[in-house]
Amino acid sequence: MSDIRVPEIKMVEAPEGVEGAGFFATSLESVVGMARANSLWPLPFATSCCGIEFMATMGSHYDISRFGSERPSFSPRQADLLMVMGTIAKKMAPIVKQVYEQMAEPRWVLAMGACACSGGIFDSYSVLQGIDRIIPVDVYVPGCPPRPEQVLDGLMRVQDLARTESIRRRNAPEYQALLASYNIK
């Protein structure tokens, strides 16, 4: 996976003129980043086939708990990672958005499978053509459904994001603007 682009746009630079983060702040940031990365509690928003592959990922052969993510939080308040798995129909779209809004910061979104990422083969009147039309997506996992290996890869990409993310990012104007562009308060 060497050709993965590092997502520069997700990082927030300190404004010009403000002194850089001191040693304490940077090491705090890295500790918090590491902690968050290793404790991503997923909210499995499993609607269809990908949900079964997610079960396989939870299963003994792949064991998502190795990444510290085995506690599925069905309550959005406690979840860190919204894993949208399966087709999101237009009837379902407001619910996905509501779940995302209920999640506490910091929150990440992983779109698993062709349907959640782009609609997949269901280019039909009732299917949302990708969940990034309603909520910001951090990592896309292609496949229909993706193999558990790909899901774990995707989880590790989210871990990369969490590890390198500044703890100030969620207060940054860029992030607020991103949310505002999705009409999320």
Binding site: A56, S60, T87, I88, I121, Y125
Partner: protein, 421 residues
């Protein structure tokens, strides 16, 4: 999009129907829930609804007074898409209908098209299909029963049997190259013969699986905590079940031994010796036991099919419908023309209509195909067992507690993809 203003909302009969409904009190609306009762919105993101059913329950404490299910949360317009796709491209669609047992859907669809086209599949391919379908049935039942365990709070059994599912995935992978959405088989047979590795893996699995299944059964079957949770929970009588159009394990749990494999045998099911387990009360425990027993019967079928797997071709000799081998396409002009025609969907489909049903993981899975001779079906209707029997759910849970409702839901094994099409 033009608004169809002649109908929606303005038609007199609809208005009358709505008023009638409100007056009759048959279907409770949210407004007439009284003060002392709670309205609980179970789903769509509730963990036990496995995604996407919504049940608005009216509850007196923990007791359910009435329930209104809402479905359609993953409506994907299968039937409309199928009208725009050539026959072979509908196979990936059927994969995603009952995704716990995609091969059954695949095979059912292929058999429907073969029936339309008049293609006879050789015996070997039929046996191969039987093996794939019974594997799918086992995995489907495994997931249903182990999820029932999860919903009663015992998570571990689920992971034990999921390891077996994982092994079946490996077999699928050797057969067709994918794990879950298999896209297995072709119109006219299978796309390739079973490899030696596949056969070997299948044999190994057949040796190891019964021990795991016994272990799973001994964890649940006679455990009083589990029995208390499921015996007499969510029962339905045979008459009501038939009236609701139940088929499959849910109907058999109520005591009716209706099985498409026996009543209208397809794909050489008449060659195999197996029994149809039936329950008595139609409660959750019966459904659980019927599924467990069906796993054993499916194992019997697989063993017989594997023992008696005939030699011969794995696809029909139908060059109009079955893709020629790659090497032939490369060298042979006639093969290339067939190849182009099949891929473009320009096969000579007769005009007609055909209904074919197979015993899916959840019951009679029917394909009603109307062909007008074009490259796509004129109309394709799926008889989706989940869609048909899920409407009995409110009737089955009224009067029971919230815990029972969840157990009942998971024992019915409603697969969302099939429910919403």
């Amino acid at each position: 999009m033009a608004v169809n203003d002649t109908l929606e909302g303005t038609h007199k009969i609809i208005q009358e129907a709505k008023e009638q409904q409100q007056n009759s009190g048959l279907v409770p609306t949210l407004n007439d829930f009284s003060q002392e009762l709670t309205t609980l919105n179970l789903g769509p993101t509730h963990p036990a609804t496995h995604g996407i059913f919504q049940n608005i329950l009216q509850m007196d404490g923990e007791r359910i007074i009435s329930g209104v299910p809402t479905i359609g949360y993953i409506h994907r317009a299968f039937e409309k898409i199928a009208e725009r796709r050539p026959f072979y491209q509908i196979t990936p669609l059927t994969d995603r209908m009952n995704y716990c047992s995609s091969p059954i859907n695949n095979m059912g669809w292929h058999m429907t098209v073969e029936k339309l086209l008049g293609v006879t599949v050789p015996k070997r391919a039929q046996y191969m299909r039987v093996i794939a379908m019974e594997l799918a049935r086992i995995t489907d039942h495994l997931i249903c029963n182990s999820i029932l365990g999860v919903d009663t709070g015992a998570f571990t059994g689920f992971l034990y049997v999921f390891q077996e599912r994982e092994k079946v995935y490996e077999i699928y992978e050797e057969i067709c190259g994918a794990r879950l959405t298999t896209n297995m088989g072709r119109v006219g047979g299978m796309e390739r013969d079973f490899s030696d590795v596949a056969i070997q893996k299948l044999r190994d699995w057949l040796k190891t699986f019964p021990a795991v299944m016994k272990e799973f059964e001994s964890m649940f079957n006679r455990n009083r905590i589990f029995m208390d949770r499921v015996v007499n929970v969510g029962p339905i009588t045979a008459e009501r079940a038939l009236n609701y159009g139940f088929t499959g394990p849910n109907l058999r749990a109520a005591g009716v031994d209706y099985d498409v494999r026996v009543m209208n045998p397809y794909s050489s099911y008449e060659d195999f010796d197996f029994e149809i387990p039936v329950g008595t009360k139609g409660d959750t425990y019966d459904r659980f036991m019927v599924r467990n027993e069906e796993i054993w019967q499916s194992l019997r079928i697989i063993n017989q099919a594997l023992e008696n797997l005939p030699e011969g071709p794995f696809h029909a000799d139908a060059p109009h419908y079955y893709l020629p081998p790659k090497q032939a396409v490369y060298k042979n002009m006639e093969a290339l023309i067939y190849h182009f025609k099949i891929i473009m969907g320009e096969i000579e489909a007769p005009v007609g209509e055909v209904y074919h049903s197979v015993e899916g993981g959840n019951g009679e899975l029917g394909f009603y195909l109307i062909s007008d001779g074009g490259r796509t079906p004129y109309r394709l209707h799926f008889r989706r067992p989940c869609f048909i029997y899920y409407q009995a759910y409110p009737e089955m849970v009224v009067g029971s507690s919230l815990s029972d409702a969840i157990v009942t839901l998971s024992s019915m094994n409603v697969i969302a993809g099939e429910l919403d099409a």
